[in-house]
């Protein structure tokens, strides 16, 4: 992860990863998942929410594509981000 990405908020980092898959729709997509499923404002997303959010994203992206490789690749990147926050916490 670049130093710029490391200083970005959790939400921005999730959007950054999502951008590789959903392009210009990434920000809107993540904002919707956070608002609708976690019932939070996108800016209030915390590292503790990441695993829960990842589960919801897996469900949503599975509805968009039948290509399980892409879904798993995307989810793996999000899980890696969640893990990096876990390590920092310890």
């Amino acid at each position: 992860m670049s130093s710029r990405a490391a200083h970005a908020s959790v939400y921005d980092q999730v959007v950054l990863i999502t951008h590789s898959y959903l392009g210009p729709a990434a920000n809107r997509f993540i904002a919707r998942q956070v608002t609708n499923h976690l019932h939070k404002a996108p800016g209030d997303l915390s590292p503790a929410d990441l695993l829960n959010l990842t589960d919801w994203i897996r469900v949503a992206v599975s509805l968009l594509t039948e290509d399980s490789n892409i879904v798993e690749e995307y989810i793996a990147e999000l899980q890696k981000l969640a893990l990096s926050y876990e390590k920092r916490k310890r």
Binding site: H19, Y21, L22, P24, A26, F29, L63, L64, T65
Partner: protein, 312 residues
């Protein structure tokens, strides 16, 4: 985001408009005066002539439905992203597609009515051909201008530049096609007298050049450039899943633009005569219309997939 029920209602209304156009067109075939020369040529009764015309119209009407479905789906998507940065560009693209889709029934219905009048009063025949040719030119021209503006905005927003060798190749192909078009049209004109209207277009050569040939070449240039710019935009857009959906939309749109150009090309090189002729021109026209219909359906699939990204 717009409620789904509202956009679904809008799509339903669009398909109802298309149904009205289809019923009107079939109705006109059975009501308007028939062409007696063609009836005698194919040894048909008036009813047989009308049934044959209606049968030939069916694939065309199927393409209208595909076209209306395509633009309705694109409008649904553009409404879903109306408040985003790319929303206005897709809205403009949608308006261009509306013009292209409406050009199909409008040209057919106007042609049908005017030729019907021409069949009753022979003196009106040249006017019918002239008006039909201009209608077939103007509506797609407006569509291409709007789509071209949308494509330019999309490319500008993404700060993308055209690939010069590919752009040059597109222009060379356009020039070759344009020159061939001029050659084929000039063959039908009496170039010894620029004011003569003794040709299949019923227009003097100078007026043909100024008001038909140049606008057609301009429309095709804009259409081809728009198709190319939209392709460049879609290929360079980030987001694997987004790009896949966008590629469907863009492939459909490019097929629609190219088939529209091909249709105009055929109809202006082999001019309309207002008669039902079972020849290679009819077959070619039907084949191009089918490509256009497939293009509109592909566009609809792409727009639906993009909209789904905004909904889940």
């Amino acid at each position: 985001m717009m409620p789904t029920s509202k956009s679904a209602r809008s799509t339903l209304r669009t398909m109802q408009f298309c149904s009205v156009m289809a019923v009107l067109y079939i109705g006109l075939i059975f009501v308007l005066p028939v062409n007696h020369a063609t009836m005698q040529h194919y040894n048909l009764s008036a009813l047989e002539y009308r049934i044959a015309t209606a049968a030939i119209a069916l694939p065309t009407i199927a393409v209208w439905f595909a076209a209306f479905w395509g633009y309705a789906k694109l409008r649904e998507y553009s409404q879903a992203i109306a408040k985003t940065a790319e929303g206005p560009h897709f809205a403009k693209l949608g308006i261009g597609c509306i013009w292209l889709a409406w050009s199909l029934p409008l040209t057919s219905i106007v042609s049908s009515v005017l030729n019907g009048i021409g069949n009753r009063w022979q003196g009106f025949h040249p006017s019918a051909i002239i008006i039909t040719n201009y209608v077939a030119l103007i509506i797609p021209l407006i569509a291409f201008v709007i789509i071209g503006l949308a494509a330019r905005d999309m490319l500008g927003k993404s700060r993308l530049n055209l690939d010069i060798p590919t752009a040059r190749l597109t222009m060379v192909l356009f020039l070759a096609g344009g020159l061939l078009y001029c050659f084929l049209v000039f063959r039908s004109l009496d170039l010894t007298s620029l004011g003569s209207t003794h040709n299949s277009y019923f227009l003097p050569a100078w007026l043909m050049i100024v008001s038909v040939i140049i606008p057609y070449l301009y429309a095709w240039c804009i259409g081809l450039l728009a198709a190319y710019e939209i392709m460049v935009f879609s290929v360079n857009t980030p987001g694997l899943l987004y790009r896949r959906a966008l590629l469907y939309l863009v492939t459909g749109l490019v097929a629609v633009i190219l088939s529209s150009i091909a249709l105009q090309y055929i109809n202006s090189v082999v001019p309309r005569n207002g008669e039902l002729l079972l020849n290679y021109r009819l077959l070619l026209t039907l084949a191009v219309r089918v490509v256009s219909g497939i293009g509109f359906l592909t566009l609809a699939i792409g727009a639906s997939r993009l909209k789904k990204i905004e909904e889940v």
